[in-house]
Subunit: 403 residues, 2 copies
């Protein structure tokens, strides 16, 4: 394929320098900040170049239409934002592959029987406002619009303020029935984020399900004080409370079959070397094979933490920031697509996706591209060029099979 | 005293709005950044107003001279910078009290037999460049100038760059024999940072000694990865390693008599909720009644951490950022000052001070003012107006006794 350069799809090459994070490694591309704005402009330019008409919906998601927008559309795409210090493939691979597959269909003279669109969802990672899949949740009403408007980023800017600065009307954020009702089928191509395809020895898989998962904010409050003048017996140190909590999170997750629980973000207030902290905020990410098991896991974590807190003199407040129930993708759609690809295997995943949010309202499917490192949300995330090409080719075949 | 307003010394009132930290509470006043620059300008204006001549030394410390600078000077003062989210008294109380005591001596027509100066030391808390008492360490050569020049702040700015921006010649940072040789006696007044004066039921105490103490940077490295797609068994999570370390720090300090050890600052890379961290940096502050005991404490902490690390798949790198051996203040000077005050008690402290750094080269003494909350490095830090007045009065009497 002539679009390949430097071993990656050309689209990935074009954005390879956007949002590089020298301090963390990898990329930091967060909603409506410099790199994300640059990626949005790049998407509009690239989609326009292949003859698509781009519109921005009321929630900041981008839709690039092949012909007239309309009902029963086949939509494919993913997201362009990243976690802090993320990889090059998580999100962009799905967008670039969608553009390439549609361009290839158009170039071949194919006439679709249904409207087609390439979509870019906003803030899939939740790296700026804390709620994953924010763009698709707003679109589908999976998050209350008033709650969403009041979300704040690390600088205290609300989503409403940021949306206004990005040219949206913050009062219009929220469920967008006209936009979602047009979608007849959504297909998201995504780099695999674990070792699933290494184990299956397959370049591709079709998603069967997504673990139930959610995010909780744990706030530990103690007594800020002087690190030298305060005896060990006098302390109420929330850093010690948070350390007990982090170990409790791991212990509880290990005790719950096929579950995962993580503290990957932590803020210390005030954060001085010679200062006993007054407050520590830890974010919990917990996932399990069913809604009930995930709720039980979080309840177990809370019990373990509260037991450990007894000796610390600190208090704990838990706030649920987001919740995503178990997603089982439409098995008929998944089987049909797997068959269209000549028997591609089905695979469950622990990673959340916009396709999981859309699956509650419209038939949705995912195709994963092998990641030979098994590492994601990290600069080590990778996909071989040959597997990326197989992904574009599979997406094109899937589109042909439903158009 | 007419200089009192709103229950604090007038000087504290004048700077009460400078560097307030809305997010953390209290004050954030860091070397050569906005609030610190404002406080330096305020000090120069206020010292000039009472007839002192202010000079900035090659390391950014400010000296306000009563008459001609000269040998065998009696110098008093403290610092104006703060920890992140610190209190109103730690540092500024000593500067304001020194200005008030000197103004009162001048106003009374007193003729000093020796030169007198009020000093403001730079970066006492080490909040910007990580090394406590940086200004007095540079002055006395207690830190190597090349090492100091290459210290970096949280934004990657070196001390050399910051000094240049502040109008200093970075090549001239370092030991300043002319400046230190002029000091015949240094007296620092400081708010008490623990419960020592509550227990002694005294508004004031003279310092006898300062615990040995230091700072170490602990860097835990693991494998950044996806929080949902990575099974618990596959993880090498440095947050878990850091949690074990924080608990080990507390356990080791409790096991070492009269010791304190704290992790009050921690950075998570990359710091996303749905991302297993790749690296966690924790800063250790450790203190004990002797140099040997402090070294043993840190060695014990390292052993405990390395044992705990075995199960985490993570590595640890330890870097010493600063070291301050046990300080025993000149007992004759301390006894003489205590007697001049009519029998003020002597007291040891766990908090580091510029007076402790100067004590290695010149006779130095400290007077503590009671803190009824027993809390410091926090907005709750406090001193009653009556105790502040007693502090100024005591400082004036001490100066009279040696001038």
């Amino acid at each position: 394929m002539s679009r390949l350069a430097h071993g990656m799809l050309a689209g990935l090459d074009e954005i390879a320098e956007v949002g590089r994070d020298a301090a963390r490694g990898g990329y930091s591309r967060h909603l409506w900040q410099g790199p994300d704005l640059e990626l949005r402009a790049w998407f509009i330019e690239r989609a326009t170049r292949i003859g698509l008409d781009v519109e921005t919906d009321r929630n900041g998601n981008l839709w690039a239409w092949w012909g007239e927008p309309g009902e029963n559309a086949v939509v494919t795409g993913s997201h362009l934002d990243s976690v802090p210090g993320g990889g090059a493939y998580d999100g962009p691979l799905g967008v670039v592959s969608a553009l390439d597959a549609v361009a290839s269909l158009k170039g071949s003279g194919f006439q679709p029987s249904r409207p087609v669109a390439v979509v870019v969802f906003a803030e899939e990672e939740g790296s700026r406002f804390g709620v994953a899949c924010l763009g698709s949740r707003l679109l589908t009403g999976a998050i209350d619009a008033d709650r969403a408007r009041s979300l704040v980023d690390r600088d205290g800017v609300t989503l409403a303020e940021a949306a206004g600065l990005a040219g949206l009307d913050p009062r219009r954020l929220g469920i967008d029935r006209a936009a979602i009702d047009r979608v007849g089928l959504f297909i998201e191509l995504h780099v695999e984020q674990g070792r699933g395809l290494i184990d299956l020895q397959s370049p591709l898989a079709i998603a069967s399900s997504i673990l139930a998962h959610g995010r909780w904010r744990l706030t530990f409050a103690g007594q800020g004080n002087h690190a030298g003048a305060t005896t060990m017996a006098e302390r109420r140190d929330p850093m010690v409370a948070a350390a007990h909590a982090i170990l409790a999170v791991t212990e509880a997750a290990v005790a719950s079959p096929d579950s995962r629980a993580t503290v990957g973000r932590l803020e210390v207030v005030p954060g001085g070397t010679n200062v006993i902290a007054s407050r520590v905020i830890a974010w919990l990410d917990a996932r399990a094979p069913s809604d009930r098991q995930t709720r039980d896991l979080v309840a177990d974590i809370e019990v373990r933490i509260r037991l450990a807190l007894a000796g610390t003199g600190c208090s704990l407040q838990i706030t649920e920031e987001s919740w995503s129930g178990l997603v089982t993708f439409d098995p008929t759609v998944a089987e049909n697509l797997a068959t269209a690809l000549g028997g591609t295997p089905l695979m469950a995943t622990g990673a959340g996706h916009d396709a999981g949010v859309l699956a509650a309202l419209v038939p949705s499917a995912m195709v994963f591209v092998r990641n030979p490192t098994g590492v994601s949300h990290s600069p080590e995330e990778f996909a071989e060029a040959a597997d990326c090409v197989a992904g574009v080719s599979a997406l094109e075949r899937m589109l042909r099979s439903v158009l």
